[in-house]
């Protein structure tokens, strides 16, 4: 009470007003999120490019259009890391003593999903890559024990964070390799020579052993983007040339499944290609892959898409074309039985919600952030 001076002021004019009706005042409080997350609850991650220190993520029910809350996620925000039990939510955060200058401090923030408030921090080396956000900037190992976070200073490494003991476990040095794809108690990285680096962790989160695959793509001829989607240990990458490269990362030895093209000859003739910031989506139950497509030449790999093309993963055939009402740079498919397709154009604060099955536009959720680039399912 000494610091928080609280004044008890009753207005004389009111206290003395004889005619005041009796009225029970409304109770004020703070909302909590007691409901279990729904299948269409999504996080819209805003890296606030023009206001970089004030990153935040917005929690939306895409099914109802409801804005459920937000979390302040620090400078140069990339993404959330959500454990399987969803009992807490993590994000790798950077803070400067004077907003844009002074001492840098990096931590893993720990949020309570019911209050959306920070309940703890785990200190980490101030080395994490800051970039346009992707799924594979960081992740949690399948055994839920470690959070792996890609660093670049420009030296390349991975911070391994022990989530059980809430401390840094180790830093794994990984020259020539980038990003981090978590597996059982391991992670993989994409290397500049088109190989995959696998790092197995021991029970303390230190490197147990590493292995490097043979090249499985040619970064010169047709680079894979660093923007995959995953379903469990199955991963799909798109290439600049609109090939899909599936990876099965369930076992210690990665399996490189045959690549296939999103395009037919007619599509190629019309100049269609995959592009955007978050340009793939996947829906488990229906076995569908979604790709954000536009017409353009070389170097248009980040251009907004105008259509979303839908593929049956079993047959690798396109089964649908969804014409977007507005161009988009990021898409997400929700895991609902009747999945939704979420689409955003960076810099435009509108979350566009479509049925992922019919392609019909359902709603616009407006006033969502500054530069939302990466969408996540809860």
């Amino acid at each position: 009470m000494s610091k928080k001076a609280i004044l008890a002021v009753i207005l004389a004019c009111l206290a003395g007003s004889a005619g005041a009706a009796e009225f029970r005042p409304e109770t004020m409080g703070v909302a909590t999120l007691d409901r279990a997350p729904g299948p269409n609850w999504i996080w819209a991650n805003d890296f606030t490019f023009g206001f970089m220190p004030d990153g935040r993520t917005y929690l939306l029910d895409a099914g109802s259009g409801e804005f459920l809350g937000m979390m302040s996620t620090g400078s140069m925000f990339l993404k959330l890391d959500i454990p399987a039990d969803r009992k807490v939510i993590y994000n790798a955060a950077t803070y400067y003593e004077r907003v844009v200058r002074g001492k840098r401090t990096d931590v893993i923030n720990i949020f309570d999903p019911k209050t959306l408030d920070v309940i703890g921090e785990i200190p980490i080396p101030p080395k994490r890559l800051t970039s346009i956000p992707t799924l594979i900037n960081s992740g949690i190992t399948n055994d839920q024990r470690f959070l792996v976070l890609y660093n670049m200073t420009p030296a390349q490494s991975v911070s391994v964070v022990d989530l059980a003991n809430r401390r840094l476990a180790s830093e794994v040095i990984t020259p020539g390799c980038a990003m981090t794809l978590p597996g059982e108690r391991r992670f993989r990285m994409l290397c500049a020579d088109g190989t995959l680096l696998s790092v197995e962790l021991d029970a303390e989160g230190r490197e147990a052993r590493r292995a490097r695959s043979a090249p499985f793509f040619d970064p010169r001829k047709d680079p894979l983007t660093e923007k995959p989607v995953r379903s469990g240990d199955q991963w799909w990458f798109a290439s600049f040339g609109s090939m899909i490269q599936p990876l099965d990362l369930s076992a210690e030895v990665p399996r490189f499944l045959p690549a296939w093209s999103l395009l037919g000859d007619a599509d190629r003739a019309e100049g269609w290609r995959v592009g955007g910031i978050q340009h793939l989506g996947v829906h488990d139950k229906s076995g569908r892959l979604y790709a954000l497509m536009h017409q353009g030449g070389p170097d248009t790999h980040k251009d907004p898409g105008t259509e979303v093309w839908v593929y049956d993963l079993a047959t690798r055939k396109r089964v649908q074309r969804i014409a977007l009402r507005d161009p988009a740079t990021s898409i997400l498919i929700t895991p609902a039985d009747e999945p939704l397709l979420i689409a955003m154009l960076i810099g435009v604060p509108n979350v566009e919600v479509y049925s992922a099955t019919t392609g019909q536009h359902q709603r616009t959720i407006g006033e969502i952030g500054h530069t939302v680039a990466f969408l996540q399912n809860y």
Binding site: L7, E22, F23, E26, A31, L68
Partner: protein, 179 residues
């Protein structure tokens, strides 16, 4: 009285402005504060077991004046900031993870259904990034900063762990009496 709500959105629409004229009750409003234990400490006469004078339901209000996510919402007559109802809160609840400030300013808004004037407490919710939704600026009864109890230009995130402003709630804490 013209208001200029949702600065940025409106600028894109050519400053569409809304009209909602009425005279203000300058006798009302004041620096409301309660202890953490007994909130709110009321500037209106009341008793614990008082017969409740029912507030008409928002559902009974026609149009935007009954919609807490609109600047035209009847309780928003003196708001200056983001309406919490658009931010994961309600007119009486801060969004999850924000902190309710007990120090506040007060407005007096006329209810469009019963025609009565109610005292609205504009408590700020604090400690997380500004919500950014439903920016509203209406100034019925607003007064300069040297009359703090009546000023909506002040950041009322005071006495809270953090003074960063998130959004504003609009709880009805009493019925106003002209005179």
């Amino acid at each position: 009285m013209k208001t200029f709500d949702r600065w940025i959105e409106n600028s894109a629409r050519g400053m569409a402005r809304r009209t909602s004229r009425r005279h203000l009750l300058t006798r009302l409003g004041g620096l409301l504060a309660g202890s953490a234990m007994a909130l709110p400490l009321l500037p209106v006469a009341r008793g614990e077991g008082a017969t409740r004078v029912p507030l008409p339901l928002d559902a009974d209000v026609e149009g935007d004046a009954g919609d807490p996510t609109k600047c035209e919402y009847w309780r928003n007559c003196a708001i200056d900031g983001y309406a919490c109802a658009c931010c994961g809160g309600t007119p009486t609840s801060c969004p999850p993870g924000s902190e309710l400030s007990r120090i506040t300013w007060i407005g007096t808004c006329r209810h469009p259904v019963d025609g009565r004037d109610y005292v609205v407490s504009y408590n700020d919710c604090c400690g997380k990034s500004p919500c950014g939704r439903c920016q509203c600026n209406r100034n019925e009864g607003d007064r300069p900063l040297y009359l703090p109890a009546k000023s909506n230009d002040i950041n009322w995130c005071q006495g809270t762990k953090s003074n960063i402003y998130h959004c504003t709630i609009t709880a009805v804490i009493g019925q106003a009496v002209e005179g």
